[in-house]
């Protein structure tokens, strides 16, 4: 079962050096534990561009799809047996990156 752990950020800057180091340690724990699927940090919301090509409209808009105080700063995709395992990892992840983390299951195909 795969889960998306989203890092919810509500400040003006990205992770500092200390947080980066803690994230590296956490990533390594995910790998050795067999939970790692994929992870990444994202650029600031002002680097986003939204495309709306429904009905060939070809619209291009500068900025994120949602203007909000909180935004997605990065994510982990993990493989875990059940929600209890995912929550435990998210708890450690939140501490490591010093931010809120949302846990959501992928739809089972």
């Amino acid at each position: 079962m795969q889960y998306l752990l989203s890092v919810i950020h509500d400040g003006p800057s990205l992770a500092d050096a200390e947080e980066d180091a803690a994230i590296d340690v956490f990533n390594e724990a995910l790998r050795t534990g067999g939970y790692w699927v994929f992870a990444g940090g994202l650029g600031m919301p002002d680097t986003a561009t939204v495309i709306d090509n429904r009905q060939d409209a070809g619209l291009v808009t500068d900025g994120p799809f949602l203007e909000s105080k909180e935004y997605l700063a990065g994510f982990w995709i993990i493989e875990a047996a059940d929600l209890d395992v995912a929550l435990k990892l998210a708890t450690a992840g939140s501490k490591a990156c010093n931010r809120k983390v949302e846990v959501r299951p992928f739809l089972v195909p």
């Binding site: 079962m1 047996a81 059940d82 929600l83 209890d84 929550l87 846990v103 959501r104 299951p105 739809l107 089972v108």
Partner: protein, 405 residues
């Protein structure tokens, strides 16, 4: 026993076990619940004609299992995709938690912290308590459709997010038991001081259900002090129920007819409190609350109450529970020892946090009355009446206000 009573009894006593057994077998709360409900409905039809089976629980489990298999077969024919989701679990069994009991797993699944507290309450009453949707909706004063949606959403989350059907591991157990106890205590309190203009002021069905479920947890976790403490607290509180309402009005602890108290429940509660004292472990909030109730229930006349012991227990309680409600209750004990002036100054300091709580104003009203400050007391009673939700409590507050003259 006539068949109708036998069905009612089997429903009450066996529901959780049937649902738990089927959940384990089919890995799906929906299937388990619907099959259990169908089995009870079949019992209603059959038992009057065929006679009550010698083992009603086993009969319900067998019948429910057949119903579940029938349903899975029907759905398999309709939808191949469903088939994959519903085939019997062939994985090796998961390592067992600290205790292996299907009902306990069910309680922990329904009380999982990833579910909203209201959902946990509703799901526990439905899946473990066997209460019907209208009963749960009535208990928590919400529309039946809203309650149904809440339960449906909770079940969907359990399935989609894969909340495990499991008793948590030993190291996680204390934290998770605390959540379960919170749910059971909420159910109990709603029954003990029911809210709403159309609700009976006391709901013995809810207090009884909470006690029954807490007994179940205690049987499974006998060494958990807080489980025992909560059970003792509930028993000592429930024991006073026959004396709590008179003529539609709530009767305060001091004015209750103590001869009407249930002595069997008091004896059992006291025994559990002594058992916890003997354990010599630092007690948590439920154990301390139970001990306070043991002091109150150990004298035949309220004037003999050992208030210094009550206050000492509250002093202990405020260290483990910083809730302002506890501080308020401590002030009531303080008033008995040091007088209303001292207590009022303590109570007034809680205003910022308790201004919306009826008991805060009721306590102030009482203290002001004792100090002869009638006009302020009346205003406080007015505020308490406005905020109170229990009909018998409103009647009591109204009379007290009107007696101010």
């Amino acid at each position: 026993m006539n068949p109708a009573d036998a069905v009612a009894r089997a429903h009450r006593e066996e529901w959780a076990r049937v649902v738990a057994t089927l959940t384990k077998r089919f890995g799906d709360l929906d299937i388990a619940e619907e099959a259990a409900a169908e089995a009870v409905a079949t019992a209603v039809e059959r038992w009057p004609a065929d006679g009550v089976p010698p083992n009603p629980g086993a009969w319900l489990t067998t019948t429910a299992t057949r119903k579940a298999i029938d349903r899975i077969r029907r759905e398999n024919k309709r939808d191949d995709k469903y088939k994959e989701a519903l085939v019997f679990d062939n994985d090796p069994p998961e390592p067992l938690g600290v205790i292996d009991d299907d009902r306990l797993r069910l309680i922990f699944t329904c009380c999982h912290p990833a579910l909203a507290l209201e959902s946990r309450l509703a799901l526990t009453l439905r899946m473990v308590g066997g209460l019907t949707m209208p009963e749960i909706a009535r208990a928590f004063l919400v529309a039946e459709s809203a309650m149904g949606q809440r339960i449906t959403r909770a079940k969907a989350k359990i399935k989609a997010a894969r909340i495990p059907y499991r008793v948590p591991a030993a190291e996680d157990l204390p934290a998770r038991v605390a959540g379960v106890l919170t749910v059971l205590f909420l159910v109990f309190n709603e029954g003990y001081l029911a809210t709403g203009p159309d609700s009976d002021p006391l709901r013995p069905d809810l207090t009884g259900e909470a006690i029954r479920l807490t007994r179940l947890i205690r049987a499974l976790l006998p060494d958990d002090g807080e489980v025992t403490g909560l059970l003792a607290l509930m028993l000592l509180t429930e024991a006073r129920r026959p004396a709590r309402v008179s003529g539609g009005e709530l009767v305060s602890l001091a004015e209750q007819d103590r001869g009407a108290w249930d002595t069997a429940l008091i004896t059992e509660g006291h025994r559990l409190v002594r058992e916890r004292l003997a354990a010599g472990v630092v007690p948590g909030r439920y154990q301390i609350l139970a001990a306070i109730n043991a002091v109150h229930t150990s004298v035949r006349d309220s004037r003999d109450t050992d208030w210094s012991q009550v206050l000492a227990l509250y002093d202990q309680l405020v260290r483990v529970d910083t809730s302002p409600v506890i501080a308020l209750n401590r002030a009531i004990a303080l008033a008995e020892l040091d007088g209303p002036t001292v207590a009022l100054s303590v109570v007034d300091r809680l205003e910022a946090r308790l201004a919306g709580y009826h008991a805060f104003h009721a306590t102030r009203a009482d203290l002001l009355r004792r100090l002869g400050r009638g006009r302020e007391s009346r205003a406080a009673y007015d505020k308490a009446i406005e905020l109170a939700g229990n009909t018998a409590e409103i009647a009591n507050l109204t009379r007290r206000r009107d007696q101010l003259g």
